[in-house]
C-alpha cells in the first residue's frame, strides 16, 4: 500500500483516539475540580499536562475551567484540542478515502463541523453532552472499522496508531497522578485520594473493570498493576503494548521484513512482562512511566522510518 495512505490511516486513528482521550480527561477534570482542596492542587493544570499539550498553554497562574474547555475542546491553535483532532482525523481520512469503508467515512464526516458553532460559554453549559458526542463519534468510527474494514495492512496501521496513542494517554495520566499513588507520601484510601483514583479509573472507563479484577479495595499496587500491567484491561499499558506488538508482527508478515520498530516493541513487551507492581515501585513509578513515554515516542519514529512515512 502507499506509504502516505498507511501514514494517513495511522494518524487518523491516533487523532480519533486523542479526541476521545481528551474528552475523557475533561470529564475527569470536572469531577476532580469539585473536590475539597481542588483549587490548591490546580487539578485543571494536571488535566492539561495529561494531554501532553502543556507547552502551548500559558504556564503561569491558576487554571480555570473556562480556559481548559476553550483550550482542549475548541482551540484550533492547539493541535491536540478535540476540534483540531476531529478535523485532522477527517483530513487524513479524506486523503486515504479509498481505504475507508463508507461507514468509516460517514463516522468521520458526520457533524465534523459541529464544534465550529460553539463559544466557550455554550460549550461549558453543554459539556457533558459534547463529551458524550465525541466519545460516540470515536466509538462509531472504531466499530465501523471493526465490522467492515478489510483485514489488510491498512487495518493494521489503523489499529497500530490507535493503541500507540492510547498507551501514551494512560502513561501520561499515570505521570500526572503518580504522586497520589506513592505509598510513602500519603496513605491511600483517604476520601480525597479515593476520589482522585476513582476519577482516573473513570476517565479510562475502568472503574467497574477494576472492581471485577481486584474487588472493592484501592491500593497503590493494585491500581498500578491494573493500569500498567493488566493484560485484560484494554486501556492498560501492557494491553496496548501487546496490541502494538501484534500489529507490528502482522505488518512484518505482510512485507516479509522486520525493522527497528519490531525489535523495540518486543523489548517493550518483554520488559513489562518481567515487572510486577512491587518492582515498579522499587524502581520508581515516575521513572517507569517516563521510560514508557520515551519508548512509545521512539517507537513512533521507528514506525515512520520503517514504512517510509512523509
Amino acid at each position: 500500500m502507499l506509504s502516505r495512505t498507511a501514514e494517513n490511516l495511522y494518524w487518523m486513528a491516533r487523532y480519533i483516539e486523542r479526541a476521545e482521550s481528551t474528552a475523557r480527561l475533561l470529564t475527569m477534570g470536572q469531577r476532580m475540580a469539585i473536590l475539597p482542596g481542588a483549587h490548591h492542587r490546580d487539578e485543571w493544570r494536571s488535566v492539561i499536562r495529561a494531554t501532553g499539550a502543556e507547552g502551548s498553554f500559558p504556564a503561569e497562574g491558576h487554571v480555570k475551567e473556562t480556559d481548559v474547555v476553550s483550550f482542549l475542546l475548541l482551540d484550533l491553535d492547539n493541535p491536540s484540542s478535540i476540534r483540531s483532532c476531529l478535523a485532522r482525523a477527517r483530513a487524513n481520512g479524506k486523503s486515504a478515502r479509498t481505504m475507508l469503508t463508507q461507514d468509516m467515512w460517514e463516522a468521520l464526516n458526520e457533524g465534523w463541523r459541529k464544534l465550529d458553532s460553539y463559544d466557550v460559554a455554550e460549550a461549558r453549559q453543554q459539556l457533558p453532552a459534547l463529551i458524550d458526542w465525541v466519545k460516540t463519534r470515536a466509538m462509531t468510527f472504531r466499530g465501523a472499522a471493526d465490522s467492515g474494514q478489510l483485514r489488510n495492512e491498512g487495518h493494521d496501521f489503523l489499529r497500530l496508531g490507535g493503541v500507540l496513542e492510547r498507551a501514551q494517554m494512560t502513561l501520561r495520566l499515570l505521570d500526572v497522578k503518580y504522586y497520589v499513588l506513592l505509598p510513602e507520601t500519603e496513605v491511600i484510601g483517604g476520601t480525597r485520594d479515593h476520589y482522585q483514583w476513582t476519577s482516573v479509573l473513570h476517565a479510562l472507563s475502568g472503574s467497574r473493570a477494576y472492581h471485577h479484577v481486584y474487588g472493592g479495595t484501592y491500593t497503590p499496587w493494585q491500581i498500578t498493576d491494573f493500569l500498567m500491567l493488566n493484560r485484560l484491561f484494554p486501556r492498560s499499558v501492557a494491553f496496548c503494548y501487546d496490541q502494538m506488538s501484534y500489529r507490528l508482527n502482522r505488518l512484518a508478515g505482510w512485507h516479509d521484513d522486520r525493522a527497528a520498530c519490531h525489535d523495540t516493541t518486543q523489548t517493550m513487551v518483554s520488559d513489562l512482562e518481567s515487572l510486577d507492581s512491587g518492582e515498579i515501585f522499587r524502581r520508581g513509578l515516575h521513572e517507569t512511566v517516563q521510560n514508557g513515554l520515551a519508548m512509545t515516542n521512539r517507537l513512533g519514529f521507528e514506525i515512520a522510518e520503517a514504512y517510509h512515512f512523509g
Binding site: M1, S3, T5, K94, T98, N109
Partner: protein, 464 residues
C-alpha cells in the same frame, strides 16, 4: 410537464404518475433526504476563489432527464464518431499536420495555441490514443436535433455524479427501476479500467498497474478522484507518492517502490512535470514526461490533448470528421462566430447584446458574456475586450434550448439543461448509456456550470 418532445412523452408517463402519487411536497421532503445522504457520503465540490463553504453540495434535482432508446442510438453513434475524429486530429497535429497542409484548418490556431505542446511532436502514445475520456457537452435544440456545445478532451469531470445520482435515485425510488426500463450505467468504472489497461506502455510486463493521480484532497474534484480509484480498485496517488528512476515511474509503498504502468492523471499538463513544463510547479513528478516519451509509463490523457477541445479548434470538428473519417457529422456544432476573422468579429460586435460570447481558452462558465442578460455597460466593456484581442473570443447564438422538467418549491418548472456523456477510448471505444445532465436552476438561465449555480439530475436512457 412536457414540451414538444414527441415520444419522450410516453417515457415520462411513468415518472409523471410517480410525481402525482408522491406530490410536490413529498418530493421536496425526499430531496432533503437525498441531500443529507450526499453530504454524509461526502459528495461535495469546491469552487475556487469564491469563499464560503469549501465543501458545498452540488444541488440535485429529483426528476430524471430521459432519452429514448432511439435518441440514444443517434447520440451514441455521434459521440463515438466525434471521439474518433478528435483522437485522429491529435495524432495528426503532433505528426505531419495533414489537416493544415490540406488547407482545411489554419495552422496558427493550432501551433500558436498554448494548449499545443511541442514537446509531444513526433511521439505516438500507446494505441495512438491521446484523449482517453472524451466528454462531449450536448444540448437538445429540437425534437430530434442535438448539437455539441463543446468537447472536453483533457480530464472531463462529473462522471461520479452520473454514478452517484443513479445510486441515490435507486436507493430512494426503487419502484421506478424495478421494471428494468432504464439502462444501467454502473459498469462505467470497470469499462474505464479496461480502457486504461489497454493503453499500457511497452515497458509493462504482465497485468498493468493503473493509478489515479490527484493534486490532493483540497482539489475541487477530489471526491471524484477517490471515488473512481475506489471503484476501479486502484491506488489514488498524489504527485509526492511518485518518483522516477531508470525510465520507470514508481510509487512509494510500505514495502518499497512499486512500478506504475498507466496513470489516469487529474492534473493539468502544465503541472505534471516541472522538468518538461512549468518549472515553478510544486505539484508535478520531475522526469515523468521523459519516461512517458520513452515508453516507461502511459499518461491519460496525453499532455497536449487539450488542443483538441480548444474553443477556436472546436469550430473545425465537423471538418475533422469529414477529413479523417470520410463521414458526415452525426452531431452538428452550434453556430459559432470566430472573432479572429474580421467579418465575423464585426458581426459579433454589432450583435453582442444577442449573443453568448466566450473566451477561447476559458472553461467552467467563467469569463463569458450572456448578451441578453447583460447590462449595456457590461456589453460595452466586453466589446472593448474583444476589440483589444479578437482572436481570444468566439460567440454563439443564445440558443432556443429545450428545457427539462425540474422540481421547484411549489411546482414542476422548466429549466435549461445540457448533457455530458463520457466516451472511453482504449484499443476500442466504450460508452455507457448515460452521462451527466446539468441543469440551470435559475429561471431562464442558460449557465449550467456547477461553479455558477447549476445543479445535476439523473439521466435515463430507456430500453427499447
Amino acid at each position: 410537464m412536457l414540451d414538444q418532445q414527441g415520444d419522450v412523452r410516453s417515457c415520462y408517463a411513468e415518472v409523471q404518475n410517480w410525481v402525482e402519487r408522491t406530490g410536490i411536497a413529498g418530493l421536496n421532503r425526499r430531496l432533503e433526504e437525498a441531500e443529507a445522504i450526499f453530504r454524509r457520503i461526502g459528495i461535495t465540490f469546491a469552487v475556487y476563489g469564491e469563499g464560503g463553504d469549501p465543501e458545498r453540495l452540488i444541488p440535485f434535482d429529483l426528476l430524471p432527464r430521459i432519452f429514448t432508446a432511439q435518441e440514444w442510438r443517434t447520440l451514441d453513434r455521434g459521440i463515438r464518431q466525434r471521439a474518433r475524429a478528435l483522437n485522429a486530429f491529435l495524432h495528426d497535429v503532433y505528426h505531419r499536420g495533414e489537416i493544415v497542409k490540406a488547407g482545411v484548418m489554419p495552422g496558427d490556431i493550432i501551433y500558436q495555441n498554448s494548449a499545443y505542446k511541442p514537446e509531444m511532436a513526433d511521439f505516438t502514445p500507446p494505441g495512438k490514443v491521446y484523449s482517453h475520456i472524451v466528454g462531449i457537452d450536448i444540448v437538445r435544440t429540437g425534437p430530434a436535433s442535438f448539437e455539441v456545445l463543446e468537447d472536453n478532451c483533457r480530464t472531463p469531470s462529473g462522471v461520479s455524479y452520473m454514478l452517484e445520482n443513479r445510486e441515490i435515485m435507486t436507493r430512494m425510488f426503487p419502484e421506478l427501476f424495478s421494471q428494468g426500463l432504464v439502462q444501467p450505467v454502473d459498469d462505467y468504472p470497470a469499462e474505464l479500467l479496461k480502457s486504461l489497461k489497454e493503453v499500457a506502455p511497452p515497458a509493462c510486463k504482465g497485468d498493468p498497474v493503473v493509478v489515479v493521480l490527484t493534486p490532493g484532497s483540497l482539489n475541487s474534484a477530489y471526491y471524484e478522484h477517490s471515488f473512481l480509484a475506489d471503484l476501479m480498485g486502484v491506488e489514488l496517488v498524489e504527485p509526492a507518492d511518485l518518483f522516477v528512476d531508470e525510465n520507470r515511474v514508481w510509487m512509494k509503498t510500505t514495502s518499497g517502490p512499486k512500478a506504475v504502468d498507466v496513470i489516469y492523471r487529474r492534473i493539468d499538463d502544465d503541472y505534471i512535470d516541472p522538468l518538461a513544463f512549468r518549472p515553478d510547479s510544486l505539484l508535478g513528478v520531475p522526469g515523468i514526461f521523459n519516461v512517458y516519451r520513452n515508453g516507461g509509463v502511459t499518461l491519460c490523457s496525453a499532455p497536449g490533448a487539450g488542443i483538441a477541445d480548444d474553443k477556436a479548434v472546436y469550430v473545425y470538428v465537423p471538418e475533422m470528421i469529414r477529413f479523417y473519417l470520410g463521414e458526415e457529422p452525426i452531431l452538428s456544432n452550434i453556430k459559432t462566430w470566430q472573432c479572429s476573422k474580421p467579418d465575423e468579429c464585426a458581426y459579433v460586435l454589432e450583435n453582442l447584446h444577442e449573443l453568448v460570447a466566450k473566451e477561447v481558452h476559458g472553461s467552467g462558465g467563467y469569463g463569458m458574456l450572456i448578451g441578453p442578460k447583460a447590462t449595456k455597460e457590461e456589453v460595452a466593456a466586453y466589446a472593448e475586450r474583444i476589440r483589444a484581442n479578437p482572436s481570444e473570443f468566439i460567440a454563439q447564438p443564445t440558443l432556443d434550448l429545450s428545457t427539462v422538467p425540474t422540481l421547484g418549491p411549489a411546482s414542476i418548472v422548466q429549466r435549461h439543461a445540457d448533457f455530458r456523456p463520457y466516451c472511453l477510448v482504449g484499443r476500442e471505444l466504450r460508452l455507457v448509456p448515460g452521462g451527466l445532465t446539468r441543469v440551470a436552476l435559475t429561471e431562464g438561465s442558460l449557465v449550467v456550470n456547477s461553479s455558477q449555480g447549476g445543479g445535476v439530475k439523473d439521466t435515463w436512457v430507456m430500453q427499447d
